[in-house]
Amino acid sequence: MGTLLDVKNLNTRFYTQDGVVNAVNDVSFTLDEGETLAVVGESGSGKSVTMLSVMRLIASPPGRITSGEIMFDGRDLLKLDDDEIRQIRGNRIAMIFQDPMTSLNPVLTINQQISEVLQLHLGMDKAAAKRRAIELLEKVNIPEAARRVDDYPHQFSGGMRQRVMIAMMLAANPQLLIADEPTTALDVTISAQILDLVKRLKKEVGMAVIWITHDLGVVAGMADRVIVMYAGRIVEQAPVGELYASPRHPYALGLLKSIPRLDEIRKEKLEPIEGLPPDLINYPTGCPFAPRCPYAIQKCLEERPPLAPTTSTKHLSACWRWQDVKR
């Protein structure tokens, strides 16, 4: 399978009153056609900003992509002009956002919003677009699609709205879907419906998916490969099985150990990661995780560990002591 997306040394900064926020730092990763890549990390770790950078959706000011290269299907997205990037957005790369309330326009019907995409990108006429819109809604399991297509977003529940968003991005047959925590705001049973739907559609359509989440459970069921972010950096990157079986970064290990699991015997005590993530303005010189890291040594505070291969070339970790990190 060919490489679809190749991001190299991406850096994104926000220039704010308080100083420069180092939101994304030297992020590099690749994505194959048809692959599902999960991005995990805690709030503020740069997951959204990284993907917004890929879509060239960083508001400027205050934000700016200061360096890097984003090769999509052989072209550097950072070198495209506004018209060219708009052609790619929504057409070849689609994105679903966290909040199903705000990502649909409240004053347009569902039909108007889906048809707009179809007319714009595929040049369909009005009637054909509506027929296709109904088909798409059926595909994402909206009951009575033909009737509900003329409803407004507020007449739909949160889970249904998220399904409409998915229908909308399916409209243009994209090669890459970026989903930014699409189920975080939803209930477990509704979220299970959506996950199920995306898995099925992925098989049918064959698109690649980048799935942003902070739920390690969701990742386990969805992804082929996982990226763990911390303080705007990738700290670990591995095939999904390996990450869970033998994480090689203390942060990933800490995350896995800190969550209570339904399938294991109940622990007497949870093992939290103590402390807080660093300030992205006064970015630490050493390993950004060092102040919270149980493995930290003097070197960790002084020198920043690069993201480097560990047991295999597919399993990368940014930790000086990856060999000692064990489940």
Partner: protein, 351 residues
């Protein structure tokens, strides 16, 4: 609107109302009126947020309460604290060996009882007054109950900050200067200030990051052991509830549909909704996830303003029987071993 019946209850649920019962809820209902009109408001219906709950909470235990958004968990918590006056029912609380009904209490009596019952809120950002310093926030309950004043109160505040793992130096800071996890600790310190017996924890970890959630859960557990606290722990995170609770209640659309011991509930769930809920929780292990059978519920949760007739779950239930479940309200009953279920298709003795 079809005539709706609230849930019929077995005489008592959970532990039999015995000496070790601290809180006892009987037939609790909370309806929010739906009104229309600008100047003169007409009553056009009710949101039946909580519709006839009965359960007991034993001294020193943690009762977990789970369910989907809008099923009435927070409303239950608030109704227990009388922050919402219940539409019907009793909230009995043990005071000097006697059970007193909080619903009947008013004014000064109720205010005095509040010292014994505290609450921790879901949103650590909105539940702290942005214009008060942390010191004043935590000292307020001490002052209003006339426990400590001035310097003594400030000393106690510093002590409490230490108890919840914050630096006592922070007394003069404002809430916005703290992270979510730290703010939640401030909320915990405020609840602890007056030495309560019972704390309603309304989703205390939902707004926090995974790595921080464990910190707060551990803190709550430590404090429980240290101060002999009783918790009602509300959450939609089934894994966290399993970790912290002794018994668990599952809510659906204003009802408790199942109530059992933690281990019983997770090992042997009886209600089809509980089964679906448990199977929907993703497990952080790819090998297990690949093999797992999911029960995917179809459709959405119905509106509490127009709950379905019969069993409220029948519209989404994979095993619902026509002519029974959509007509008759299932009784919430003990099916053995203090395992309570509201489902027609669970036989007696299944517990």
């Amino acid at each position: 609107m079809a005539s709706q019946v609230s849930q019929p209850q077995a005489a008592t649920s959970g532990a039999a109302s015995s000496q070790d019962t601290l809180v006892s809820i009987r037939g609790l209902k909370k309806y929010f009126p739906i009104t229309k009109g600008i100047i003169f408001q007409r009553h056009v219906g009710d949101i039946k947020a909580v519709d006839g709950l009965s359960f007991d909470i034993k001294k020193g235990e943690t009762l977990g309460m789970v369910g989907e958004s809008g099923c009435g968990k927070s409303t239950t918590g608030r109704a227990i604290l009388q922050l919402h006056k219940p539409t019907a029912g009793e909230v009995l609380f043990r005071d000097n060996g006697q059970m007193v009904d909080l619903v009947k209490m008013k004014g000064e009596d109720l205010r005095k009882m509040r010292r014994r019952i505290q609450m921790i809120f879901q949103d650590p950002y909105a539940s702290l007054n942005p214009r008060m310093t942390v010191g004043n926030i935590i000292a307020e309950p001490l002052e209003v109950h006339g426990i400590l004043k001035g310097k003594a109160a400030q000393e106690r505040v510093q002590e409490l900050l230490q108890v919840v793992g914050l630096n006592p130096y922070f007394v003069n800071r404002y809430p916005h200067e703290f992270s979510g996890g730290q703010r939640q600790r401030i909320g915990v310190a405020r609840a602890l200030a007056v030495n309560p017996d019972f704390i309603v924890c309304d989703e205390p970890i939902s707004a926090l990051d995974v790595s921080i959630q464990a910190q707060v859960i551990n803190l709550l557990e430590d404090l429980q052991a240290q101060f002999d606290l009783t918790y009602l722990f509300i959450s939609h995170d089934l894994s966290a509830v399993r970790h912290i609770s002794d018994r668990v209640a599952v809510m659906y659309l204003g009802w408790i549909v199942e109530l059992a011991d933690r281990d019983t509930m997770y090992r042997n769930p009886l209600h089809p909704y509980t089964k679906a809920l448990l199977s929907a929780v993703p497990i952080p292990d790819p090998a297990i996830e690949a093999k797992r059978e999911r029960i995917i519920l179809t459709g959405d949760v119905p509106s509490p303003a127009r709950p379905p007739a019969g069993c409220r779950f029948h519209t989404r239930c994979p095993i619902a029987q026509k002519g029974l479940c959509d007509v008759q309200v299932p009784e919430f009953r003990n099916v053995g071993n203090n395992h309570f279920v509201a489902c027609h298709l669970v036989p007696d003795g299944a517990g």
